[in-house]
Symmetry: C2
């Protein structure tokens, strides 16, 4: 979906790179780099976290992996390249998937302050995952919002 790639992307395929991609594709949890690290370690007991980060960066630049800069600090990674959105769990930080056709596309705003060239947008839904929904309904209070927010 990215039309132009600015720099040359490494193409060499190492064992680590291949396994990282395979393991990521086999997970549906949108793992953090650290979660992926431990998953990959089961197959390559000597991989280092730095290798995970470096390869994720390469794979993102190759367009084989999506980096999700979700709420909550840690980046998450997605091997599913199809267009879809995500729901962030306000209770535990878990991510869920939202089908693309459930979301009406937004028009680019005609003007901004100051005047940006607007080229795209990001949408992230939020709410509570099945587990946190139960916890939330019993002990804690769930914040609800009256309208859209940013």
């Amino acid at each position: 979906m990215i039309n132009k790639i600015n720099a040359t992307v490494p193409r060499r395929m190492t064992k680590q790179r291949r396994v990282i991609l395979e393991v990521l594709r086999g997970m549906q949890n949108h793992p953090t780099a650290d979660e992926l690290f431990w998953a990959v370690r089961k197959r390559l007991p000597k991989v280092s976290l730095g290798t995970i980060y470096r390869n994720l960066d390469v794979l993102v630049r190759q367009g084989l992996v999506r980096r999700l800069d979700t709420t909550g600090g840690q980046a998450r990674f997605d091997g599913d390249l199809s267009l879809h959105y995500h729901v962030y769990c306000l209770g535990c930080g878990a991510l869920g998937d939202v089908n693309a056709d459930a979301v009406h596309p937004l028009r680019m705003p005609a003007s901004t302050t100051p005047e940006f060239v607007v080229t795209g947008y990001t949408v992230e839904f939020e709410g509570y995952c099945p587990a946190c929904r139960e916890r939330g309904n019993s002990n804690e209070e769930i914040e609800t919002r009256e309208g859209p927010w940013s």
Copy 2:
């Protein structure tokens, strides 16, 4: 816009807290904690960065300040509580404002995977600010996206 607040929020008003809020309200740049720190330092030469962070946290919990978890890692803060959205500059990380009525409200998705209770959403536009637009058009290539993305 938040209906329930879960914990007791400190109410004591210190000089630092007041000045931090005043300075933030006087800025339109959506400063990072560090930028705000230096701005506040001009008035309170002895404030520490920790105090900035602690007070921003309190002010956010009091509902007097919005924390913006934008792309790019660093949190940014907004003293403007009115409903509006933001544009992120892919070139330099600057933030601009998008008027609320330029954005058609989204419906909450009926179902997600797994089944979340969806309570809200976040929208962030992206593009290039006036300064980076010039730079981008000359030297570097600007990535454009065919459709919405998340």
